[in-house]
């Protein structure tokens, strides 16, 4: 299931219909809570496109509240639901704030650039980044296919895929994995 959340609409609906700037922690917390409410209504694995296209300004505190704290809740071994996130409409100044927030918690996310290309943003080690890039090129694949592409042992490829999946950077369907943008 693919969902689309326009962050600017959430901001106007939950905080003030005159605001176009995502600033201050209380604002960020309110927007994140509403996003979590929307997510909780969706059952099964879901990919949620979080769209910043109509957000004018995003400050550091709000990036922490909206993006980092949302990801923190879902990454790791026991997420409340099988949710994945893809950021879209992120401008360079938005990215400054988002990257600073991700760095604090050693988090990462996948972002879709204006040209449709996918970018891995945040803290990712070289091996995970290589695996993510290889998977992006392969599309959907199992661990042994990725191992061949990377020239690594299948067990190592499987561990990398499991780590990326735990970080919500790729989706898993049975024994195969899919990059977020391709799943779209």
């Amino acid at each position: 299931m693919i969902n689309h959340i326009d962050v600017s609409s959430v901001l106007r609906r939950t905080v003030c219909d005159l605001y176009s700037n995502l600033v201050t922690r209380p604002t960020g917390a309110a927007v994140r809570t509403e996003i979590e409410n929307l997510l909780s209504a969706w059952r099964g694995p879901s990919l949620t496109v979080i769209d910043f296209s109509h957000v004018n300004l995003l400050d550091f505190s709000c990036a922490d509240e909206v993006v980092a704290k949302l990801l923190l809740r879902f990454e790791g071994g026991a997420p409340p639901q099988d949710a994945y996130f893809l950021l879209r409409g992120v401008r360079e100044d938005h990215l400054d704030a988002i990257e600073a927030a991700l760095e604090r918690y050693q988090l990462a996310l996948v972002m879709q650039a204006e040209d449709g290309g996918l970018l891995l943003v945040g803290t990712v080690n070289d091996a995970q980044r290589r695996a993510w890039q290889a998977l992006r090129e392969l599309g959907r694949c199992a661990a042994d296919e990725l191992a061949t592409a990377l020239g690594e042992a299948p067990a190592h490829a499987a561990a990398l895929l499991a780590a990326l999946h735990e970080r919500r950077l790729i989706m898993r369907f049975d024994d195969t994995y899919v990059p977020l943008g391709v799943a779209q």
Partner: protein
């Protein structure tokens, strides 16, 4: 008995210390008269700090404004008198703000106490900031958004930590003495609990023997420490530091008896000053210089 506090002719982050030196030894309920009759110039930092001085007095202060018409008119246009009359008994002529198409005041002195105030400040600054930062100070258009982010984070320090309202002001002016160029300056001042008490309020924080205002400022401004355990906290000032570094600007934060500064090559300030006159709250100044276009 009223104690007269003499305000220097030129009032900036350095000379405002003369005012604070005079105020510090006085009891809060001691009546004071802030005498700015001979003042000819004041930076936004100095104007917001003057309001903060008045805010700290238990006995309502008196205030005598500049006698020079241009100076008085400018102070009126910054919104200074509008707030001063709430806090002080004004003496002498109180000028009215003339609508002279003043472009140097990007944001007149604005109270900040709650999150909604920060939204208001950010909404108001953006349109004017774009025109002035890009067209007049020759900053990259990308700087406009970062400037507003910086302003937002600086204001949030009041909302999150001060436990008392403060003021923000943004102005441009030509800084002849130190730089010989135009600058844009953000001033955010409050008379709240200050950095040291804010960090001390952190649950379980160990206070070392060397703990003082200077160390509190180093922790908060340089190391990004916050009173909250949440590792996401402390990003605001870190973001301000990055912005200031990128645009060759200066950041200074005064709190209690100390002042810390990120000093660019064009300024001769020192990174840390201690043993200043004690003063409540925190006073933040961010200065971004005009860029000289490459020939």
């Amino acid at each position: 008995m009223t104690t007269v506090i003499n305000v220097p002719p030129s009032l900036d982050d350095a000379t405002i210390e003369q005012v604070l030196d005079q105020v510090a030894p006085l009891a809060r309920d001691q009546k004071i008269l802030i005498d700015a009759r001979h003042t000819r110039w004041a930076s936004p930092y100095a104007l917001t700090t003057l309001l903060t001085v008045a805010q700290t007095r238990a006995e309502r202060a008196g205030f005598a404004g500049p006698e020079n018409d241009d100076t008085a008119s400018y102070w009126a246009r910054t919104g200074f008198y509008k707030h001063a009359e709430q806090l002080c008994d004004l003496h002498g002529h109180v000028p009215r703000a003339r609508n002279g198409g003043e472009s140097s005041v990007l944001l007149e002195i604005t109270p900040v106490a709650k999150s909604e105030d920060v939204h208001d400040v950010v909404e108001r600054i953006q349109q004017k900031a774009q025109a002035i930062l890009v067209n007049e100070l020759h900053l990259d258009p990308q700087a406009t958004m970062r400037f507003a982010m910086t302003l937002s984070e600086a204001c949030q320090n009041i909302v999150e930590h001060a436990q008392r309202g403060g003021w923000v002001a943004v102005q441009t002016y030509t800084w002849r003495q130190r730089l010989g160029r135009r600058v844009v300056q953000i001033a955010v001042c409050d008379a709240g609990i200050g950095f040291r008490a804010s960090l001390e309020s952190a649950h379980g924080r160990r206070i070392s023997d060397r703990w003082d205002d200077g160390m509190a400022l180093e922790d908060a401004v340089i190391r990004g420490v916050s009173r909250f355990r949440d590792p996401g906290r402390g990003q605001g000032l870190a973001g301000v530091r990055r912005f200031v570094g990128k645009w060759d600007g200066k950041l200074s934060v005064r709190s209690g008896t100390a002042r810390i500064a990120i000093v660019p090559s064009w300024d001769e300030d020192v990174p840390l000053v201690e043993n200043l006159a004690p003063f409540p709250g925190s006073q933040v100044q961010i200065t971004i210089p005009e860029r000289i276009p490459a020939r």
